[in-house]
C-alpha cells in the first residue's frame, strides 16, 4: 500500500482539485483498526510533514483531507484524515446529469432569484404613448369637435325652410 501526500490550496467545494507537491510513502501497512472514510494513519515523522494537508491512500482508493496531525512519541505522527468524496469520485460526478439551479456563468434569468439583492427604493419611469387622435389642446373655433344630435326623422327627414312654402295643415 502506498500513500501520497499533497498540498491542496483549492476550496473544499472544488471538484477538480489541483494537487501539488506529491510525496509518496510506500510500503504503508495497516496495523490497527481504522475507518475507510475517516482513517488515521501513523507514519514516521519527516521534515515537512506538517505542511501537507491532503493525501491519497491507495488501499482505500480514496482522497482525503488531512484534518489534523497528531505528534506521537517515537518520531511518529498521526495523520487524521477525512474522505474527500468530490475528488475521489470526480470522474463519476462529472458524468452525472442533474438540474443546475444556480450557476456563476450567465446572468439573471426569468426564474425568480430571491437571493438577488435589490433595494427597497424603486426607479419611476414614465413613457408617453405616441400617436393618438386628440386635438383638444390645439383646437380652434374652426375645429369640428362638436356633435349636435337633433331629434326627428333621420336621413330622410324632410324639412322646409322658414318662409316661402305652404305649410302642410296639421289635423
Amino acid at each position: 500500500m502506498f500513500m501520497t501526500l499533497y498540498k491542496a490550496a483549492d476550496d473544499k467545494r472544488r471538484i477538480n482539485k489541483t494537487l501539488l507537491n506529491g510525496y509518496s510513502l510506500n510500503d504503508i501497512e495497516i496495523k490497527r483498526d481504522t475507518n475507510i472514510l475517516n482513517p488515521s494513519i501513523i507514519i514516521k515523522y519527516f521534515s515537512g510533514v506538517m505542511t501537507y494537508n491532503y493525501c491519497f491512500i491507495s488501499i482505500f482508493d480514496r482522497y482525503y483531507y488531512i484534518t489534523n496531525i497528531n505528534v506521537l512519541s517515537g518520531g511518529r505522527v498521526e495523520l487524521v484524515c477525512e474522505v474527500d468524496v468530490l475528488k475521489t469520485y470526480e470522474t463519476s460526478i462529472k458524468a452525472l446529469s442533474a438540474i443546475l439551479v444556480r450557476g456563476s456563468v450567465g446572468a439573471p434569468t426569468m426564474i425568480i432569484d430571491n437571493r438577488l439583492p435589490i433595494k427597497q427604493t424603486k426607479n419611476v419611469k414614465t413613457y408617453e404613448f405616441s400617436g393618438g387622435d386628440f386635438n383638444i389642446d390645439i383646437a380652434t373655433k374652426l375645429s369640428n369637435n362638436f356633435v349636435l344630435n337633433i331629434m326627428g326623422g333621420g336621413a330622410s327627414n324632410s324639412t322646409k325652410s322658414f318662409g316661402g312654402e305652404t305649410e302642410k295643415e296639421v289635423v
Partner: protein, 749 residues
C-alpha cells in the same frame, strides 16, 4: 414550322443575372405588358459554370409541329426556377452529378418535343381540362395561377438518394381556351413519387421521417423577386405529356436535374401522367424510376419518356407513403395557401371528379400569411368571406414564422391571431335622429339663433314644431364636445345646414352618416424589457397605464411586456359614452386585453334641467368607491407570482413574490369628462423598477438562479445542483450523502 424569332441575351458571369432578366420580363408581363415571347432556358454543366445566355423565343400558338426539336407555344404564364446544384434522377449521374441551370417557361399549352407525339394528344388533354372547370376556385391562391394543368411540388431530402414529389392538381374548364381566365391551383390530393435508382427500391413504401422543409419553397409569381441568398422561384411548366419537355431547349434525352441538396426549390410542373410509354409498358405499375418511366416532374427532362396515347385521366402512379410523410407533405403544402383535399381517389379516372370531395382551403391572417386555419369548402365550391382574394395566403419564406404551421388538423381549432374592431354597416346614428358635426362658430351661431329676441323668428320656430307638440329646444337631444376632430376620423363630408324639427337654421354643419367610423386611436407604445429577466415582472417591476378619460389601469406585466400596447376607443356620438380597448400585439398576433367604459363626450348643457340633473348625478356618485381596478390588480398579481414561485422544485426558488403585494390606489368619487380636458391627453405608462445592489462576486459565491438540465462536467464556475441521480456511482451511502450534500450546497468546477 412557324417562324421563330429569337433574341439572345448574353447574361454575364452568373446565373443570377440571367434570373434577373427573366424576372424583369415576368414582372413586366404581370404589370400588363403583352407577352409575346416564351423564355427558354440555358444550361451549364456544373454549378460553378457561368450562366451563358437565355433564349427568348417568340412562338406561334398554332405552330404545332412534329419535329425532333421542341415546339414552342405562346407563353401566357411564366415563372422562374433555379437550380443551384442537382443530381439527375433516374440516370446514373447523367450530368456528372450537377447541373446549374435556369429555366423559365410556362404555357397554357402542351409542350412536347418528340416526333412520336401525336397532335391529337394535345387536344384530348385540353378537353380533359375543360371538363373540370372550377371557376369558384380562381384566385384562391396568390400568384399560383395557371391556365390549366397539373402541378407538382417537388420536395428534396437530404438523404442524398431520394426525393418525393407532391403533385397537386387543379381542374379547369373553359370553353374557349384562348379566353380562359387564369385559374389557380387546387390541390385535389397529392401523391409522392420517389425517384430511385432501381425498380425494386421504388416499389418499397416510402418511409420518410420528415420532409425537409428547406428543400423547397414557394413564392408568389407577383412580383417575382430573386433572393440572392437562395433562389426560390417556382416554375410553371407546360405539361409535358409524358414526352420530354425539355426545358433546356435541347431535344432528346437530357434530363432535368433535380436538386437534392439545393436550397429552396419548387417545381410546380405542368405535366400529365400517362399510362402508356412509348418505350416501356411497365410505366403504369411502377413508380417513376428513370427516364424511361414515370410521371412528369420538374418540367420534364425525361429524355426518352414520351407518350403515344395521351390519356389525361389514366392511372396515376401512386407510391405508398407513410402517414407521417403524408401529413408532413400536406402541412407544407398548406403553408402555401394551396387548397387541398385529403381524399385522393385511388382510381385515377376519378381524379378530377371533385364532386363530393371534402376540400380544405387555408385561410390567411391579416398579414396575408397562412395562419394555420382551414376552411372547408362546400361541395359546390362556395367560398367563405375569408377566402376572398384579399385573404389569399402567402408564404413568407420564414420557417420559424408562427404562420408556417408544420402540422395541421382541420378538426382542431387554431387560436385566432387577430381580433380587431369592426365597422358596423348600421348604427343608431341617423336612424331616427340627425347627428351633425359642427365647429365652434356654428355652436355660437346656433346659440344665438335659439336665444334670439326676434319674435317673428320665434313664431316661425314654434309653428314648425307644432307637429311635435314640443318645445323647440327639446328638438335638440344634446350638444357634446369631443377631444378630437370628429369629422376627420369619421370622414363626414355631407355639407348641410342644421335642421331642428322642420326648421332649417341655415347654420353650416357636416352630417354624420350611419356608417361613420367611430373608432379612435389613442396611440401606442412598445414596452421593452429593461432587465430581460425576472426583475421585469411583478412584484419587482410594476406598471400602471393611464388612458385619458378612462383613468389608471394596473397592468400585469406578463401580458404586456415586450409587446406593443395600443389603445382604441369606440365612441357613441349620441350619448358621448365610449369604450376603451387596450390591445397587445406581438409578432403579428394582436388581441384586446382590457375593456373599460367611460364618458368621452362632454355634454354642453342646453337647458337648466340638463345642468341640475348632471350635478345631482355627480354628487350622488361622489362617495362611491371604484373597487374593480384595485381588486383586479391584487388578485391577478398575487396569484400569479405565488403560483409561479411555488411551482419551482428547488428550495432556492421559493415564494418570495407572493410575499410582496403591490400597493394599489383605490379610486373614489366620480368626475365629469370636462375635468379630463385638463388631464394629460396622451396615454402613458408608469413603470416602477427595482434597483439592484451590484456585487462583483455575487455570481461566484451565490450564482444566478436557473433551471437547466446539464451534465455536471460541462458546467463551469460555482454551481448548485438538484435532482441528481447517483445510480452509477459506487460508493458508500455516507459518501453518496456527502456527494449530494456537496452538489446541492454548491461546488466549483
Amino acid at each position: 414550322m412557324s417562324e421563330v424569332n429569337r433574341s439572345v441575351y448574353p447574361l454575364g458571369q452568373t446565373g443570377l443575372e440571367g434570373l434577373q432578366i427573366c424576372a424583369n420580363k415576368l414582372n413586366a408581363y404581370l404589370d400588363g405588358e403583352p407577352w409575346e415571347q416564351s423564355i427558354a432556358i440555358s444550361q451549364s454543366m456544373n454549378p460553378n459554370a457561368p450562366f451563358n445566355n437565355v433564349d427568348f423565343l417568340t412562338v406561334d400558338y398554332n405552330g404545332l409541329s412534329v419535329m425532333h426539336e421542341h415546339t414552342q407555344r405562346d407563353v401566357q404564364k411564366i415563372a422562374l426556377t433555379y437550380i443551384s446544384t442537382g443530381v439527375s434522377f433516374g440516370r446514373n449521374q447523367y450530368y456528372n452529378g450537377s447541373v446549374d441551370s435556369v429555366f423559365i417557361g410556362a404555357t397554357n399549352e402542351l409542350y412536347y418535343s418528340y416526333a412520336t407525339l401525336r397532335k391529337t394528344a394535345r387536344t384530348q388533354f385540353v378537353q380533359n381540362c375543360q371538363a373540370r372547370y372550377r371557376p369558384d376556385l380562381y384566385d384562391l391562391i396568390t400568384g399560383i395561377k395557371y391556365d390549366s394543368m397539373l402541378g407538382v411540388l417537388c420536395v428534396g431530402f437530404n438523404n442524398g438518394s431520394e426525393y418525393c414529389s407532391l403533385k397537386y392538381y387543379y381542374d379547369h374548364k373553359d370553353a374557349e381556351l384562348a379566353n380562359k381566365t387564369p385559374a389557380c391551383i387546387f390541390m385535389l390530393g397529392f401523391y409522392g413519387n420517389t425517384e430511385v435508382s432501381n425498380v425494386r427500391r421504388a416499389l418499397a413504401p416510402i418511409d420518410l421521417t420528415e420532409l425537409h422543409f428547406q428543400y423547397w419553397m414557394l413564392r408568389s409569381l407577383n412580383p417575382v423577386t430573386i433572393d440572392t441568398t437562395f433562389a426560390d422561384f417556382y416554375n410553371a411548366f407546360p405539361p409535358s405529356v409524358g414526352a420530354s419537355l425539355n426545358p433546356l431547349g435541347v431535344p432528346n434525352n437530357h434530363q432535368l436535374a433535380v436538386p437534392i441538396n439545393a436550397p429552396s426549390l419548387i417545381f410546380p410542373v405542368v405535366g400529365c401522367i400517362n399510362g402508356t410509354v412509348g418505350k416501356s409498358q411497365t410505366w403504369n405499375t411502377t413508380p417513376a424510376r428513370n427516364s424511361s418511366q414515370g410521371s412528369i416532374m420538374y418540367g420534364g427532362g425525361y429524355g426518352d419518356m414520351y407518350t403515344v396515347d395521351l390519356d389525361f385521366t389514366d392511372r396515376i402512379i401512386r407510391p405508398i407513403l407513410t402517414q407521417k410523410a403524408f401529413d408532413s407533405a400536406l402541412s407544407i403544402a398548406a403553408t402555401y395557401g394551396i387548397p387541398f383535399t385529403t381524399e385522393f381517389p385511388n382510381d385515377a379516372h376519378n381524379l378530377f371528379n371533385t364532386d363530393g370531395l371534402i376540400t380544405y382551403a387555408p385561410i390567411a391572417n391579416a398579414g396575408g400569411y397562412f395562419d394555420g386555419r382551414f376552411e372547408t369548402l362546400t361541395e359546390s365550391g362556395e367560398l367563405s368571406s375569408e377566402l376572398s382574394p384579399e385573404n389569399k395566403a402567402l408564404w413568407n419564406g420564414d420557417e420559424n414564422s408562427p404562420y408556417n404551421k408544420r402540422t395541421y388538423d382541420p378538426n382542431i381549432p387554431i387560436p385566432t391571431d387577430n381580433i380587431d374592431l369592426t365597422q358596423p354597416a348600421l348604427t343608431a346614428i341617423d336612424a331616427f335622429n340627425r347627428t351633425y358635426i359642427i365647429d365652434g362658430n356654428s355652436v355660437d351661431d346656433l346659440g344665438a339663433l335659439l336665444w334670439s329676441g326676434d319674435q317673428s323668428f320665434l313664431d316661425s320656430v314654434l309653428k314648425s314644431f307644432e307637429l311635435y307638440g314640443e318645445k323647440p329646444i327639446n328638438g335638440i337631444i344634446n350638444l357634446m364636445l369631443f377631444p378630437f376632430d370628429v369629422r376627420e376620423k369619421t370622414g363626414a363630408t355631407g355639407n348641410e345646414t342644421i335642421k331642428i324639427g322642420r326648421y332649417d337654421t341655415q347654420i353650416a354643419a357636416y352630417r354624420l352618416p350611419t356608417n361613420a367610423s367611430a373608432i379612435y386611436d389613442f396611440g401606442s407604445f412598445k414596452w421593452e424589457r429593461e432587465f430581460d429577466n425576472f426583475l421585469d415582472f411583478e412584484p419587482f417591476t410594476t406598471a400602471e397605464l393611464y388612458v385619458p378619460f378612462f383613468g389608471m389601469f394596473p397592468l400585469q406585466n406578463s401580458h404586456f411586456i415586450g409587446k406593443t400596447i395600443d389603445i382604441k376607443v369606440a365612441v357613441d356620438f349620441i350619448t358621448g359614452a365610449a369604450t376603451c380597448i387596450i390591445y397587445v400585439s406581438d409578432k403579428g398576433i394582436r388581441h384586446p386585453v382590457i375593456y373599460k367604459n367611460a364618458t368621452l363626450g362632454i355634454q354642453i348643457p342646453i337647458t337648466g334641467e340638463d345642468v341640475s340633473g348632471r350635478v345631482n348625478t355627480i354628487l350622488n356618485n361622489a362617495m362611491g368607491v371604484v373597487p374593480d381596478v384595485a381588486d383586479i390588480a391584487k388578485s391577478a398579481i398575487s396569484k400569479d407570482i405565488g403560483g409561479l414561485a411555488k411551482s419551482a422544485i428547488s428550495a432556492e426558488i421559493h415564494a418570495f413574490g407572493a410575499d410582496a403585494v403591490p400597493t394599489m390606489y383605490q379610486t373614489a368619487g366620480a368626475s365629469t369628462p370636462e375635468c379630463s380636458l385638463y388631464l394629460p391627453k396622451k396615454p402613458y405608462i408608469i413603470l416602477y423598477t427595482p434597483e439592484i445592489i451590484e456585487s462583483d462576486i455575487y455570481n461566484n459565491c451565490i450564482g444566478y438562479a436557473t433551471f437547466e438540465d446539464v451534465t455536471i462536467g460541462n458546467c463551469q464556475g460555482f454551481c448548485k445542483f438538484d435532482n441528481i441521480d447517483l445510480s452509477n456511482i459506487i460508493a458508500t451511502d455516507t459518501e453518496k450523502a456527502q456527494i449530494l450534500s456537496a452538489l446541492a450546497g454548491g461546488v466549483y468546477l
